[in-house]
Symmetry: C4
Subunit: 233 residues, 4 copies
Amino acid sequence: MLEELKKQVYEANMLLPKYGLVTFTWGNVSGIDREKGLFVIKPSGVEYDVLKPEDMVVIDLDGKKVEGDMNPSSDTATHVVLYNRFPNIGGVVHTHSPWATSWAQAGRGIPCYGTTHADYLYGEIPCVRNLTKEEIDEAYEKYTGILIADHFAQQNLDYEAMPAVLCKNHGPFTWGKDAHEAVHNAVVLEEVAKMAARCEWINPQNQPAPQELQDKHYYRKHGANAYYGQKGK
Amino acid sequence: MLEELKKQVYEANMLLPKYGLVTFTWGNVSGIDREKGLFVIKPSGVEYDVLKPEDMVVIDLDGKKVEGDMNPSSDTATHVVLYNRFPNIGGVVHTHSPWATSWAQAGRGIPCYGTTHADYLYGEIPCVRNLTKEEIDEAYEKYTGILIADHFAQQNLDYEAMPAVLCKNHGPFTWGKDAHEAVHNAVVLEEVAKMAARCEWINPQNQPAPQELQDKHYYRKHGANAYYGQKGK
Amino acid sequence: MLEELKKQVYEANMLLPKYGLVTFTWGNVSGIDREKGLFVIKPSGVEYDVLKPEDMVVIDLDGKKVEGDMNPSSDTATHVVLYNRFPNIGGVVHTHSPWATSWAQAGRGIPCYGTTHADYLYGEIPCVRNLTKEEIDEAYEKYTGILIADHFAQQNLDYEAMPAVLCKNHGPFTWGKDAHEAVHNAVVLEEVAKMAARCEWINPQNQPAPQELQDKHYYRKHGANAYYGQKGK
Amino acid sequence: MLEELKKQVYEANMLLPKYGLVTFTWGNVSGIDREKGLFVIKPSGVEYDVLKPEDMVVIDLDGKKVEGDMNPSSDTATHVVLYNRFPNIGGVVHTHSPWATSWAQAGRGIPCYGTTHADYLYGEIPCVRNLTKEEIDEAYEKYTGILIADHFAQQNLDYEAMPAVLCKNHGPFTWGKDAHEAVHNAVVLEEVAKMAARCEWINPQNQPAPQELQDKHYYRKHGANAYYGQKGK
């Protein structure tokens, strides 16, 4: 069942240690088959060096396990909400990557200080509030997803142009058109988080990049007039 | 004698360079056989790339060498005290891992700024005071252990929920149910120390994570209601 | 066509990941044949682990593609201007290397704090202003090159003695007598940027190195009286 | 001539890239045969990955080349002075290792903040002043050595208990009983420099470790009462 997707999601999971985004089992990647309404996710707490494609767990959009011998990631309920609320995404990643997590622990969104950020993420990367005690007690992982999706709705943020979020005192989630692109965005986020911190230390009065420069770089890579790479070839 | 334990402790020692926790010989791991009342520890000053399982030294709970050609770790007396005072631990680690040691040198405990910390360590990681000149002169390594254990007793800290401590101007000790888990906690400590420093630099007014979030993450992984990983499968 | 140069430029591009200067495809190297008036550059958006010498694109000094199946780097127009305005250079590099980019994002030139810097780069590494909205809209990459070259002309900077520049909120460009030396200078810049940031954090009142020390180190390696290395042997 | 020493010095040089202390050719190691009054040093500007034992250059204590096809390190005159003024040392190292160089660029000595430092280096690591223009013009590398040795004499520092120094706006020199120990001390210095910077950032009011703790750790490893390692076995 979903063998090809399992393989893709397995490979995307294995990119997390490759890119230095996880210590031990502190991360998970999922990918969805939109036609079938099923997604595939890493099992909970399994070390990356013993993980196999067939260990992946299949979940439906109500959060019910459809196939798999193991428990799915403890963050599965967050993934469920994100797939339901963000209909155009195909993959979700959660990590505790050190620089992005440091910003999350600091409770700050990441301003757009340069073109590396603007190439992939349009505007300031948001940091959502802590959940209340009631939300935590009732359904921690589910409310994490709801909080993210509600924040994007309330702030009128386009989740396709901003495929990343920080959860206060916790860490980042990223997404993308598939599991591989979601991991790509997790790598970008970590690089951007590192450089944003350092540039503030180099210049404590630092200001975000001018809007026209952000626009130039974002639209050089995205949308109808993009000309970066080999698109249209 | 204790061949299986020697092998385990040897392997746990070899994880220190693998995880980047030691330079040269600046670290040691021990593991105990509680039934026999004997523990096995790295020999002093031996380089990791020539270390062998049979080099491990066997020590009893009075600190007497029971078997081994080499001198045990110079920190052996600290391990002796910790095994005597913390009856449920099975392994002890000492390193000079750079981020944890930087906090120890700064004389500060590490506040719980996020879920990475709360997943493993319940509350602020304590930093114990300097030993007095009298304690140093009389029995430095032994009093290091006594200071740690007394601090946990006086502060009413649960050593199973807080398997790590910093010694001021020195470095960290961690422990766990066996040598391997003690190393695992040393890795967690180093990651947590790194991110705590950086998040303070990103937000100098930073506050610890809300207690309910710390509780949620700690008890998601520990105790009767834990649901992280494949426990109960 | 230009097979030997393509090979050199390919190899110079492959040094970027080797030295940790690029994540994904965030960098490009070119090299020129001055006699023919043609340069060779990396194709746009192609991953380094699939890049081949024959993928290199040949461009003339008007910016026209002369040979190649792929789109050239999106920064090609900047390279064109630099080759036209800096007649003695043979190679150009652009990266988003993290420390140099952090200074660029901070909008600050890098003061010469020591001999590592003075060995290769004479004086403060300049940081040029943001382009205006008009310049961005009209020809972003071309005006990036013009801005750099005009800045060097206006400030009376010798581009051979200062083979590096930072573009505000963007990142660095470096150059050299060939593609390989341009990459060498990109590595130097990254090391220098890292140490300059850290030494300011260690001493917030830090001052540049004395001029006579800068002169000594620069001229120990450059010009008629150089005695570093095996020159003249 | 001195084949065994050349091999040792070659191997010690190759440890510099292994331990991440050098970029390109920014470092050199020498070792001396005290009976013959000759030392062996890396040739100037030769890349580590093509360096061979037979490339080493033999120099006498007047600084004259006795054997070798290549130019010796441009820092040879500094090594000459150190061997003459510090009669018990057998090896000398110069690098631009990033953390030690950051302190040198900041013009600050490194306070002893912990036992990692005290285990090897007794007291604050000194940072010597800039050379004057006259000293630079007359004999830069020779006066670098004189300045170091004079500083140790004037401050009554024991060069055997403090085998490291920083040269302002330049970088570190270390030494030891042979070339290998000098490299060992260069690694220690880099670790200590890194942790000293970070602990000041974690606690800006940080104070050095108590003298009795420094003494305990230094004399646990050095002198008649040392008990670290397998000495006396």
